[in-house]
Amino acid sequence: MSNIPVDRKYSRTHEWVSLNDDGTVTVGISDSAQEQLGDMVFVEVPEVGQNLDATEACAVVESVKAASDVYAPVSGEITAVNEGLTDSPETVNQDAYGAGWIFRMQPADASELDTLMDAEAYESFLASEAH
């Protein structure tokens, strides 16, 4: 049973999105995702200033057995990336919702956040995917 904090939203591609006070959002991958991928060996972060559409691939998490794309959950501009992941990709496994954040972005359209799932919906989504 993986950890799904209620203070954030989730995408169908297993990113979590948390709204910051300054209007930006922080994005990472869920605990369920990091568990499935296994030990991280490399994270390719996006470029600051990059403009993305919602669901556009913008980062890569590479584990010992797979390399998986990370998708922008909403449209917007990358404002920050977690440089620490270059030296310590395992942070994504150890603290997926905290220190394992991957990037921050300024959403172009705040209403897009409403299309994302809350914790309960994500939990049902995971249960249905398991079949």
């Binding site: 060996v41 490399f42 057995k65 797979a66 390399a67 794309d69």
Partner: protein
């Protein structure tokens, strides 16, 4: 690993175990309309005796001319030990080993190959090889496009002094991926790529610059100046080099202030026979920071759970069996057999031996150029330093000279008129360490006689050579 084929009895037993009447039953899922049955234009098989004779006849048709041609593949001496060892059962494999636990010997050899290539080129890492020099350049270009995230143009500057086959191959492979190859002219006096001709691209978005050194004409480029220019423009630098030359010339890892980003080239000179054009192998090395964008197999060294050193394929998440359409390349193999030969060749020669080979090549080419250009109708075309190849200009039709030279069982050089018609009657000649002074004299004497016959006035009847 020994090959133990099934016997008829084994086959019958297996079919019985699964309840199939014969082997054809195993294919009955394939619709009859899709089955070919018999390949109509493939002739019947031949006996071993027939095929041996056929191959002997074909090999004889090639002849064994005295070779003064380079142009990307070089006739070097290969010590007997190289192929004695390479063809031993323990090494004799074309393919890269997925099963680390059963292939430590092969993996260690590939690791040592990678170490040698990285050392030779002065770069941080090497892959386990690609198919050949031409496709290695194409892969390097695609890698530069992926790796240079700041550049969006996908425009690559490619000097015309880069091998014409490499340029054509690169174009074939990259142009459907939206990559534009922009030609950069060479100097008609020096045969080199002049840094000033790049000025027109200053301030533009250029993804990478390719530098071949020595270039196709054998001429040495201004590698530091060109590398420095490219890096100042935010472009990556791809070096295309000859591995023998690296025993004497400055390696790509030392070009400019920071060294090149990717170094590639043709590995044939390292213990691989000419073999009518292949198989050869391509090498690729890069800086550490770009290693995740590098295509091809990479072998890494690690420790097993008992703390012993072991070797394994690594960084496989770049490759298509994991990353599929987002892989760094469609290549999923290496040229294992040729890499084995090259590693043994380098191990046998060592740094000193390779330097001696390179020095002998250069000395012989100089001797060849001097001997041939002693003739009034022949002169060196370019006035810059060269390595082991040079272009000679003839002031009479080249075809009239080449025909009789072929008839004298010589491969006199590579005729440049198809690829570089602007050079007129120009021939790219090469003398490796395998050409003796007597060989060079033979070529020169034949050439002098042939030219004299063609140019001496008086007899209006020109001899017709077959």
């Amino acid at each position: 690993m020994p090959f133990i084929p099934h016997t008829e009895a084994d086959i019958r037993e297996m079919l019985a175990a699964i309840g199939a009447a014969d082997i054809d039953d195993l294919f009955d899922e394939i619709p009859a309309s899709l089955r070919i049955g018999k390949l109509s234009n493939v002739p019947d098989g031949m006996t071993e005796q027939e095929i041996s004779r056929l191959m002997l006849e074909r090999a004889e048709a090639d002849g064994r001319p005295l070779c003064f041609t380079g142009a990307g593949a070089y006739d070097h001496h290969i010590p007997a030990a190289v192929w004695e060892i390479t063809t031993r059962g323990e090494f004799y494999s074309a393919y890269t080993p997925y099963q680390a636990e059963a292939s430590q010997g092969t993996l260690q050899l590939i690791y040592e190959y990678q170490t040698m290539m990285a050392g030779l080129t002065g770069m941080d890492v090497s892959n386990a090889s690609l198919y050949d020099g031409a496709s290695a350049l194409a892969e390097a270009i695609l890698m530069a496009v992926r790796a240079n995230r700041r550049s969006k143009s996908r425009r690559i500057l490619v000097p015309l002094a880069v091998h014409p086959h490499y340029r054509k191959t690169a174009h074939t492979i990259v142009h459907n991926q939206g990559v534009e190859l922009v030609s950069v002219p060479y100097s008609s006096e020096g045969g080199h790529t002049v840094a000033d001709t790049l000025r027109q691209y200053e301030g533009e978005d250029i993804t990478a610059l390719v530098i071949q050194h020595p270039n196709f004409f054998g001429i040495l480029e201004d590698v530091d100046e060109l590398t420095g220019w490219a890096h100042r423009q935010g472009a990556l630098v791809i070096a295309v080099t000859n591995p023998t030359s690296l025993a004497l010339l400055k390696p790509p890892g030392d070009w400019g202030d920071a060294g090149v980003d990717i170094a590639c080239g043709e590995g044939q000179p390292l213990g691989v026979p000419l073999a009518s054009g292949g198989p050869y192998f391509g090498f690729m090395c890069c800086k550490q920071g770009l290693v995740r964008q590098m295509p091809g197999r990479i072998v890494g060294r690690t420790r097993d759970r008992d703390g012993r050193i072991g070797y394994t394929l690594t960084l496989q998440a770049r490759e298509q069996h994991i990353r599929r359409s987002k892989a760094t390349s469609n290549i999923c193999t290496n040229q294992g057999l040729l890499v084995t030969a090259a590693t043994i060749y380098l191990a046998l020669l060592g740094a000193e031996g390779l330097a001696r080979v390179a020095q002998a090549c250069h000395a012989n080419t100089r001797m060849l150029v001097e001997k041939l250009s002693a003739n009034d109708y022949v002169e060196p075309l370019f006035n810059r330093p060269y390595f082991h190849e040079a272009v000679l200009r003839f002031s009479l039709p080249l075809a009239d000279v080449l025909r009789p030279l072929y008839a004298h069982n010589l491969l006199p050089g590579y005729d440049l008129s198809t690829d570089y018609p602007e050079l007129g009657n120009a021939l790219l000649v090469c003398a490796t360490e395998t050409r003796t002074a007597a060989d060079i004299d033979l070529y020169g004497d034949h050439l002098n006689r042939i030219i004299e016959r063609q140019t001496v006035a008086g007899c209006p009847v020109k001899p017709r050579m077959a």
